[in-house]
């Protein structure tokens, strides 16, 4: 189970917390939580991966928020998110998904940023608007378009 899910969950943790050591800690905590609470997983309510993904996002976001220098972190958020899209970092991506990686690369950079800020970092519409310096209404429109675009690209695979 670990070998199967850990790359995806680690990727999520790394996206949220932004540094490898902290992401490793989060991943470890996530698997301990999964281990302890596996009896609470209800297959009728959703797939196992969805459940594990939610645990990972929540744990990683909690870990990020518990850090004292919230303000500093906020400023770095945009930078570190942007950094993730640099080509040399993409080399670390799991080899299995190399074909799919090209799909992601077709997604516009600002579309990926807006999805990731909401989906991974757990930011609210207001926070995204403030961080990207765009009106609140634009956040909704862009988000919608980004997700539609993502789905369109995935269907081509």
């Amino acid at each position: 189970m670990y070998d199967h899910y850990s790359p995806a969950l680690y990727g999520v943790a790394l996206k949220v917390v932004g540094e490898e050591a902290a992401a490793g800690d989060v991943l470890q905590e996530v698997f301990v939580k999964i281990w302890r609470n596996i009896d609470r997983y209800d297959a009728s309510k959703g797939r196992l991966f969805t459940w594990m993904l939610n645990i990972t996002r929540n744990t990683a976001i909690d870990s990020l928020r518990s850090k004292n220098h919230k303000l500093e972190q906020r400023v770095q958020d945009v930078n570190s998110v942007a950094l993730m899209y640099e080509p040399q970092l993409a080399v670390h991506l799991s080899v299995d998904h190399l074909g799919l990686t090209k799909v992601i690369e077709k997604l516009q950079k600002d579309q990926r940023i807006i999805i990731d800020m909401a989906y991974f970092k757990g930011h609210t519409q207001e926070e995204i608007a403030k961080s990207l310096e765009i009106p609140l209404g634009t956040v909704k429109t862009r988000m919608r378009n980004a997700i539609i675009q993502l789905r369109t690209l995935l269907k081509q695979v």
């Binding site: 790359p7 490793g24 991943l27 301990v32 969805t50 956040v139």
Partner: protein, 282 residues
């Protein structure tokens, strides 16, 4: 809202990104329960998002796996429910721990009960002692008070005795002249005595009987020297009056008299208020 309209409304996209409002989330969840088409659409979106996540998967460092597995194996509560092959080996351990645990609890409970009873007994004993001690303390304090009052009284008597002795010495001195001063016609009941030492010129006064004056008045002693009254000073009444009081000095006198004057004394005697008067014998 019909399912198709719901699907195209854009709420599902916001919901997937996690930025839908609570109200929108409520609406969507209601719609998902009502229309299987909406639920299926949400599921399709979810799969897309999860594919997106999976695509970005990164292999974690191998040491994380090692450290995770050692953590899980070292936490006893995590091993519960896990089909561990050495379960048989674990079982006796737990049982034997319970066996050693239960008698030790009994011992602890028994010891605690004994200690509690002992403590109650000691409480009772010490409380009684404390009560006794408190009684003694009260008695001791009252004794201390009475001793103090006795001591102060004895001091008072001692001073009194010394004053009496002093008076006696003056009276017994052969040089001292005794001048009785009987009451005047206006105050026949009054009586006082002057003791005068002509060589030291000191005058003493003993009040035998004088009515207590009002607070704004005081008795004043006069010496009549060659027909003129000379002030010998005012004097106190009350307790002090029973003793011999030291007055002013005079080298010459033919007569002594006492008048009642305003407090602090007068420059000249008020003749109408003369209570006693007496001539020096001889």
């Amino acid at each position: 809202m019909d399912p198709q309209h719901f699907i195209s409304s854009g709420i599902i996209e916001l919901y997937m990104a996690g930025i839908a409002t609570d109200e929108e989330v409520g609406e969507l969840e209601t719609a998902m329960a009502q229309y299987p088409a909406v639920a299926a659409q949400v599921e399709a979106y979810r799969r897309s998002m999860e594919t997106y996540v999976t695509m970005q998967g990164i292999d974690p460092q191998p040491d994380i796996k090692a450290s995770l597995f050692s953590q899980i194996n070292n936490e006893p509560n995590l091993q519960e429910g896990v089909p561990v092959p050495d379960e048989d080996l674990q079982q006796p351990k737990v049982v034997s721990m319970q066996e050693t645990k239960s008698p030790s609890w009994k011992w602890i409970a028994a010891a605690a009960a004994v200690l509690l009873v002992g403590s109650l007994i000691l409480n009772y004993v010490f409380f009684n002692r404390y009560k006794e001690f408190r009684e003694y303390k009260d008695k001791y304090q009252s004794l201390l008070v009475s001793q103090n009052s006795i001591l102060s009284k004895s001091n008072l008597y001692k001073t009194r005795l010394e004053q009496m002795q002093e008076s006696m010495e003056i009276i017994q001195d052969p040089k001292v002249l005794k001048v009785p001063m009987p009451g005047t016609k206006a105050f026949p009941e009054a009586l006082a005595t002057v003791f005068w030492n002509p060589s030291s010129q000191q005058v003493y006064l003993k009040v035998n009987k004088l009515p207590e004056p009002t607070a704004d008045k005081q008795y004043q002693l006069w010496a009549i020297v060659d027909g003129k009254p000379v002030d010998m000073g005012v004097f106190e009444m009350g307790d002090t009056a029973s003793l011999l009081q030291k007055m002013k000095v005079t080298g010459k006198a033919q007569m002594f008299a006492i008048t009642l004057e305003k407090k602090g004394g007068a420059l000249a005697p008020t003749m109408e208020q003369m209570y006693v008067a007496g001539k020096i014998p001889g």
